[in-house]
Symmetry: C2
Subunit: 322 residues, 2 copies
Amino acid sequence: MSTGAVQAVVDLGGDPVVRVLERVERRMSELAGEYGPLLARHAGETIAAGGKRLRPLLVCLAAGVPPPETDGLVRAAVAVELVHGATLVHDDVLDGSPLRRGRPSVLAAGGRGVATATGDLLFSRAFAELAGAGSVDAVRVLSRAACELAQGELLQRADVFAAQVSVERYLERCRLKTGVLFRAACELGALESGRADLVLGAFGERIGLAFQLLDDVLDISGPPERTGKPRGADLLDGTVTLPLILARERDPALGALDLRALEGPATMAEVCDRIAATGALEEATARALELVSSAKLTLPPLPGSQRAALELVADGVVERYS
Amino acid sequence: MSTGAVQAVVDLGGDPVVRVLERVERRMSELAGEYGPLLARHAGETIAAGGKRLRPLLVCLAAGVPPPETDGLVRAAVAVELVHGATLVHDDVLDGSPLRRGRPSVLAAGGRGVATATGDLLFSRAFAELAGAGSVDAVRVLSRAACELAQGELLQRADVFAAQVSVERYLERCRLKTGVLFRAACELGALESGRADLVLGAFGERIGLAFQLLDDVLDISGPPERTGKPRGADLLDGTVTLPLILARERDPALGALDLRALEGPATMAEVCDRIAATGALEEATARALELVSSAKLTLPPLPGSQRAALELVADGVVERYS
């Protein structure tokens, strides 16, 4: 989702959304400084490095437009973003990634041990943050999501360099790796609205899925100037994503391709071109768009401004690709 | 603490303690099977591999003797043990350890990625387990401890191969790495007893500290047949512990020793002998015994059987060394 799209949503939500998101940033800055430079330098830098704060925005909008400006809402938004940050730090350890958001990853800056422990600290801090607001239901939602995130990572490891991955299995991996935290963001917001009947989880999960599908398309399509990493970086790590799964059915040479045997950016660029030539990128994109449409259909009856804001977020996920 | 000492405590606590610990084991087995073999084989094996379950025992005894046989108590004991298991799995990633409790570590069996994600799963599962019992105070206690465990790991990384580590800094690291989870175990038990006035955290923290000090003595003294690892394994990883800190002040050759330059078991055995020759092992042991004594002194007024059981646990920590 582009910064512009986020801004459009914030504009629609008005001053209360702005104020909640500002409080989220302030709270993140406080946490970043909390443990001092020795023990949490990298945790602090991870928190401060930002990102689009898409998940905190979802927490906020799911609670209502205008959102209730409560301590609990701010803490829930912070907790979701901390869990997200923890998974990024650990992902970089698993993938050996030197860069994150254009800066050295914690892995590169501090080494494997520091990065593993920093992720653990961010994870733990997330639960401490939620518990501080006193809602055990919120802890239940986030801990379930965190379990599923770890399972998604394990599923990805189990399928690394696999010659055959079904579409269903790929979608389940995306659900676990990305969908469940978007779901949790929506559920936490709904909890904080005091309307336990608000069923926004399915909406969140679907746009999270769409987000991951489009991210996987971008990995193949690039261009590198836009994504900040060479084309096919995920494939090089052995992560088989939807474009390759679809392209394998259409191009026998890709069907026989051994990802382990690939070397260097030149070869990978050729593979990416070959995947693109099958039309797999368009089909994967179409699937993501369908998910966004169906996400909107799952929305329960909502006040007009809240519905409009959530639909804008859904569209923003797509806009990211166009 | 030896299996015999654990048994003595259990005998003193009678059938209710036995029943609670059996329920803890059953619940752990259930969790081990919960996610199926693909996604949680290693998590399940870690849980099932056992250990002395010292922390669950503390949760149980801190709640009372006889303990209340509640779902919340069982869940609290399980959650503490899951966090402990998560830290062991991640520790093995950080240290590159091939063995854990005499069996292949998750790192050795599944690789770094699987081990990192398995630790994350155990962590998350711990909070889900606690949240299931509905006590946000319990989540607060455990999340604070989990944050401090990660900080302890970071402190250890910061001091790796350090030429100078003060005794104070070493003790702070031990508090963070080991003391805080013993503290949390006692606090969780006290919470479940319904007596919020029970101040057992300081007791737990001190015996946890003593436990770590004696563990560090064993690393130098061995023998390997007893510890299951070569003497000086921690030193070889660059972890400077109390025996070396004390010995460095007494033996100039040890003061000038560069741990990075050490190679092979023969050299390390010589260094261990040299540390032992300074009397540092006796002093470190004496400090641990003092901690156990002072732990007992912090105990608030308690029913006789509960006091006796907690004192037995404290003595059991020492007995481990003798």
